[in-house]
């Protein structure tokens, strides 16, 4: 009798296990419904699908051009013209010269501040993959994107000196460039604030029916701000045609990425938002180009955001106010410069194709250097904008209070004109 009972219980248990029945006798494969539950199955394996940190799997980096310039898969070489490829290399080399010379200019007290893009020049390839009028929301280390679209060295210098030719009338520090004609939002210093704005702008594009997208650049540090989360969530839930392009260069000022996040970088967050995500070698112009082109197609045609994480390495200090030797291993920096710099592999590729040589490079270096030297002297001697502009553009129209304050300031300055740097400004 007892053995029959035991056998009955045992077979019942097995039956229950086989059919996934709960103790209440309800099928585990059904659930009460409700939309946040739909599609989600039950399981008796508590840790199924969980990824404890010790077993972390790292998304690999997409690469087409290896660090020597060898093509890994000929079918994936982008359909860029020779002109575009040469333009890319020229800009990358130009930015290198600008970085060196403007850094020196800051140290000499000519300009107040500067930030180098050294090591991250390959981001220019993302600009090549966009339409000219795709709006750019950037962080600050992407000036090469603006140069690709036509921003000139003279404009860089005018902005750096904040003279009367600066598009923003001298209101911001160097490096805080922007342009309406080139579809590039003005840089602001607080990090990641541009991020939720990008999907908002993109939503406007979607409503208008235009076939454009937005690209939003940000760094590995900025990606930790609440604004970054807000941006990706809004873009995904509202279906915004925006590309989130993260430049993971290993550092946020002195903070290395292992103090910045514990998961697999930023690309791993894509699935959390239901968003497609791609990790690329940030020193490979072809990989960046292909990923951005694909992301653009998804964004424009499917109104879905795409996340690209571009792995690179910051070769310079954070800015002229920082000294990387205090925290970066300069041996690694030198090794990267020698072996992994994005210019090396593109140069090798183009030399191989007969599209570039040492002569051309020498000529380019000299021309850029000369342009910078002349430009620095010119921009420095241009006057600063008129004092009236101190009060303009706060609101759409000058308010009565600001009118009064302007008058008060002008009267004060008239009396103390020898003590204010009036002669630096347009009169």
């Amino acid at each position: 009798m007892a053995s029959v009972l035991v056998r009955a219980v045992r077979s019942c248990t097995r039956l229950c296990a086989a059919k996934n029945w709960t103790a209440h006798g309800r099928s585990l494969s059904s659930n009460p419904g409700g939309h946040s539950w739909s599609g989600i199955q039950y399981t008796t394996d508590m840790l199924a699908g969980s990824s404890p940190h010790k077993q972390q799997v790292f998304r690999p980096m997409y690469q087409v051009l290896d660090h020597t310039g060898k093509v890994l898969d000929a079918a994936q070489v982008p359909d860029l013209s020779n002109t575009q490829l040469v333009k890319m290399l020229e800009l990358m080399i130009t930015v290198g010269v600008m970085d060196q010379q403007l850094y020196k200019a800051q140290r000499m007290g000519l300009i107040s501040f500067y930030m180098m893009s050294s090591g991250e020049e390959a981001v220019v390839a993302s600009a090549a993959a966009l339409a000219h009028d795709d709006m750019v929301f950037a962080q600050y280390r992407e000036p090469i994107v603006l140069y690709w679209r036509g921003y000139t060295i003279d404009q860089v210098l005018d902005q750096s000196f904040g003279n009367w030719l600066d598009l923003a009338k001298g209101r911001q520090m160097p490096v805080h460039f922007g342009s309406k004609d080139l579809h590039f939002q003005f840089i602001s210093s607080p990090l990641s604030t541009q991020m939720p704005q990008a999907p908002g702008y993109a939503y406007g594009i979607k409503l208008s029916g235009k076939k454009n997208c937005v690209i939003c650049y940000f760094g590995d540090g900025a990606a930790q701000e609440g604004d970054a989360h807000a941006a990706m969530n809004f873009a995904s839930t509202r279906g915004c045609p925006v590309i989130f392009f993260c430049r993971n260069n290993g550092y946020a000022i002195s903070t290395p990425t292992h103090d910045q996040y514990a998961g697999d970088g930023i690309v791993s967050r894509g699935p959390g938002y239901g968003m497609e995500s791609i990790r690329v070698d940030g020193n490979d112009v072809f990989a960046i180009y292909n990923a951005t082109k694909h992301a653009r197609e998804v964004a424009v045609n499917e109104h879905r955001p795409v996340l690209i994480e571009s792995m690179s390495y910051r070769l310079g200090s954070h800015s002229t106010s920082d000294d990387q030797t205090g925290y970066q291993d300069m041996n690694i920096v030198e090794q990267w410069k020698r072996e992994y710099h994005p210019v090396i592999r593109l140069r090798n590729y183009l030399v191989e194709k007969g599209l570039w040589d040492a002569e051309r490079e020498k000529g380019l270096l000299a021309a850029v250097s000369d342009k910078l030297k002349k430009g620095l002297n010119r921009a420095r001697d241009e006057p600063k904008p008129h004092l009236d502009y101190l009060f303009e553009d706060v609101h759409s129209k000058l308010t009565p209070r600001l009118e009064r304050q302007k008058r008060e300031m002008m009267e004060h300055i008239k009396e103390y004109k020898d003590y204010y740097p009036l002669n630096q400004h347009e009169s």
Partner: protein, 376 residues
């Protein structure tokens, strides 16, 4: 602007004042039970000509949003719970009428709502964002002070987010406590580059909201939630706007300039009535309407005439907007002042639940301030 010369002679001496107070005291404090005192919100006549309909504050705002969506094909309304009609019902029916792409829910994220709204406005759309309670707007502060307010200035008007309007219910509601009663206008008044508007009732709200939405500067529109259902009056059904940065004199007077905005106008009205009945004091009641940029000329002209000022707002004393008004008034009207300026505000505490009646600048405290300022 011309200022009236000198001051108007005070018609009450201190002794007459004392006599009147004694008289009312001896017959019982009837002033507050007077039949002349309104029981609740004082409905106003329509500010513009045209067909009107009885609406409460919610309905007036909804009507404003409806007209904005109707007249501007780029207009978009969004925020938490906006799709089903909003927790205060301000967007009821709008999604059905204008579609899911123009009226929609956002994730629960105020910094996202502001950032998204700024981006939309920069694109050229009219972006009308709702923040569920002013108490929750704080995560968005960075987007306001560092982005919205500076967008135009930092690009020399090449870009701007002027088409952004952010609406939020503010103020005491009887049972809100710390986190459903806040006044936040003083934080925002301090930021150059934005506009802050606070309406006192339904017909004002609709006209001011439409102005705010159509204005080319990012505007913050704080709605007195206590009046959402309680304030009912004839509101024009059509499209109309009321001017920003213009204060409004609700009733002229000669003895005291009384300044307030939003829900505070109601207790101030009552205090002015009692001051007239009990003290014979003639108050000039002014609704500031736009907090920044504010209408200095109307205020200064009034103060130069009366020489005495009482300012009341629900926000706390320290750092509250009354400080800015007083600083300007004393600088511009010093010799015209007959008494120190009185301000009546909430005590400097977080907004308490059970102590609310004691904390807010009640009509009794407002009356006492008027009495103080005339008996200096």
């Amino acid at each position: 602007p011309d200022r009236p010369p000198g001051k108007t002679k005070m018609s009450l001496t201190s002794s007459r004042l004392v006599w009147r107070c004694l008289r009312s005291f001896s017959t019982g404090v009837k002033g507050w039970d007077s039949p002349n005192l309104p029981k609740g919100y004082v409905a106003e006549p329509s500010p513009v000509k045209g067909e009107t309909k009885k609406m409460n504050l919610v309905e007036a705002i909804r009507s404003g949003l409806d007209i904005a969506l109707q007249t501007d094909p780029t207009a978009v309304v969004f925020g938490e719970d906006v799709a089903f009609g909003g927790v205060f019902r301000c967007s009821v029916g709008l999604q059905a009428k204008y579609g899911k792409s123009r009226v929609f829910n956002t994730p629960l994220c105020e910094q996202g709502i502001l950032g998204f709204g700024i981006g939309l406005a920069v694109h050229g759309n009219t972006a009308v964002a709702e923040i569920q309670f002013a108490d929750y707007i704080h995560p968005a502060f960075d987007q306001v002070v560092n982005e919205a307010a500076k967008y135009r200035y930092r690009s020399a008007s090449l870009y701007h987010c002027g088409r952004l309007t952010v609406r939020a219910p503010y103020g005491a509601v009887g049972h809100g406590g710390l986190y459903h009663s806040q006044s936040v206008e003083s934080f925002y008044a301090h930021i150059p580059g934005i506009t802050v508007v606070i309406p006192r009732g339904p017909s004002q709200a609709k006209g001011l909201l439409l102005s705010a939405i159509r204005d080319d500067n990012p505007t913050f529109f704080f709605e007195p939630k206590a009046l959402y259902r309680a304030a009912i009056e004839d509101v024009p059904v059509g499209d109309y706007t009321l001017p920003l940065s213009q204060a409004e004199i609700l009733h002229e007077g000669s003895n005291v300039t009384v300044i307030g905005y939003g829900a505070q106008i109601q207790p101030l009205r009552q205090a002015c009535i009692v001051a007239k009945e009990q003290l014979g004091v003639s108050c000039e009641l002014i609704d500031l309407r736009t907090i920044v940029p504010w209408d200095e000329d109307t205020i200064i002209k009034s103060v130069c005439k009366t020489g005495r000022v009482v300012i009341a707002h629900e926000d706390t004393f320290t750092g509250g907007f009354a400080g800015e008004l007083i600083a300007t008034i004393q600088a511009e009207c010093f010799l015209n002042l007959e008494a120190p300026i009185q301000r009546v505000c909430s005590w400097d505490t977080p907004f308490p639940l059970v102590y609310e009646p004691f904390c807010v600048p009640s009509k009794y405290r407002c009356f006492e301030a008027i009495k103080k300022v005339v008996s200096f």
